[in-house]
Every structure is written in C-alpha cells, then in structure tokens.
C-alpha cells in the first residue's frame, strides 16, 4: 500500500471558528480536489494546525488566503509555517 505523505500547517486565525464550518468553506473553495487535499484540523497546544496531503499543500494555503468570512462572520487565516511532523512544526 502506498503511504500518503502529510504536511502539517501552523495557522493563525483572527477569530475562533468551528472546525466543521472551516472545512465546509475549504470544500467550497477546493471543490472535488478536497478529497485529495484531505485537510484535518488539529488543536496542538492551543494552536490551530491543519494536516493535509503533501500534494495538496499549495491548494490549501491559497484557499486559506482567500477566505475572509465564514458564515457571514469576518475571519482571516494566516499560514505561519509548515512541516512534515508536528514536533518540528512546534519546535521551530
């Protein structure tokens, strides 16, 4: 079985949003490629971390850049850095 490589993305948000609402917004923006990007939202030591496939990293970053509101509520996302492991992501 082929192992899917992942990337972890440290994200800063201007306001708190529900994970499901953000994933819905990403689904709207990425479209059918959503299942290839496969984003998963994690909470690591109080920070928002999004796990995605290595191939879908660029698409995820662009989609997050263009999100300015979710469900009528203003919200922006800044991608701080990415890494292959959570440990490296949080230690940088």
């Amino acid at each position: 079985m082929i192992r899917v490589k992942h990337r972890y993305l440290l994200v800063e948000a201007t306001s708190s949003v529900q994970n499901e609402a953000l994933l819905n917004e990403l689904l709207n923006r990425i479209g059918t490629r959503y299942y290839a990007v496969n984003p998963r939202i994690l909470n690591v030591r109080g920070s928002m971390v999004i796990r995605c496939s290595l191939d879908g990293l660029s698409e995820l970053i662009v989609a997050l850049s263009l999100i300015k509101s979710i469900g009528g509520k203003e919200c922006a996302f800044y991608t701080i850095r990415s890494s292959g492991t959570i440990r490296a992501l949080m230690s940088k």
Binding site: E12, T14, S58, I61, V62, L64, S65, L66, K68, E74, A76, Y78, T79, I80, R81, S82
Partner: protein, 165 residues
C-alpha cells in the same frame, strides 16, 4: 532571503505581527503616493508612468498592452495587490484570478519585474509570506520568481517611495 510586504497606511497591526507572518518588515504606504500608482484605467497608468512612478498596482487586473509597454520601457515594477483578489467573491473572484494570471504571464513575457504585495487596508486582508508565495505560484510564476517578487521587488519599491514604518 529577507521578505517584505507593503500595506496601506490605514492598516493597523501590532509590532510583532510582521515577524509572525515571516516578513522582515511590513511597510505602509499612502494611497496617493506618486511613486506607487494604485488604480486602473489605461489613461491613469500612462499618466502615472509620465509622472515617474516606479511601480503600478492595477486593481482590476485588466491588461492594457500600451500601458504595459510603457511600464516595460520605464523599467517599472508591476505590483499584484493580493487583497483586491481576496475582497472579491465567487465568480467575480474567479474572473479576477484569471485576469491576474494573464497579466502576470504577459508582464514576464515583456520583461517586466513583478512584485506581490498584500496592499491591505486592514489587518484582515494581510497575508503571510507563505501565502503570498503560493498565490504567486498559482498565478503562473516559478518558485524563484515568486520569492523574488516578495523580497527584492518589494524592497525596491519601498526604497524608491521612501516611506515605511
């Protein structure tokens, strides 16, 4: 490599914010600064070039070949204001992204230097270094050109405009 961003002077943020976004510095610039033309329209672009603007940020991303020829002749920089892409939504945003992509590719073909800036009026519309580079790559640049567009090209504009904070 050091990265820089340019925002409008109405944009407010705390001092540690640019560092978190991966920038060496974020410069603020007045909208009416004659060195950086922000707007659209063939006549306005030509007038800005005549007034010695070092960079043009075309806010509707429409391609005017005469204007771009003047930009190339003057050795000016084409700014891509990412916040204007983010402000639009839905189909309008898709159209703007397509126009921006076409404009960027045309600029590179004509030998015009391209820079990628957020040009945000508020903190909401600012972007991190990673986001600017990925957006630049999506618009049709290479990794190397994208990094140059967020670092050296932006520094040149600020040095010419002589503003910052």
């Amino acid at each position: 490599m050091k990265y820089y961003d340019i925002v409008l002077d109405t944009c407010r943020f705390d001092s540690g914010f640019p560092g978190r976004l991966g920038f060496e510095r974020v410069f603020s610039i007045k909208e009416g600064n004659h060195m950086l033309f922000i707007g659209s329209g063939k006549a306005k672009v030509l007038a800005a070039m005549q007034n010695g603007a070092v960079a043009v940020a075309i806010t509707d991303f429409s391609l005017d070949k005469q204007g771009m020829a003047r930009v190339a002749d003057n050795g000016a920089i084409l700014c891509v204001p990412v916040s204007y892409l983010a402000r639009a939504g839905g189909l309008q945003q898709a159209k703007m992204l397509h126009r921006a992509s076409y404009l960027v590719k045309y600029a590179y073909k004509k030998g015009i230097e391209v820079s990628f800036v957020s040009l945000a009026g508020s903190q909401m519309f600012m972007n991190s270094r990673m986001q600017l580079i990925e957006l630049a790559k999506m618009l049709g640049t290479t990794e190397e050109l994208a990094r140059h567009g967020v670092s050296e090209a932006n520094r040149k504009i600020i040095e010419a405009a002589g503003e910052g904070k």
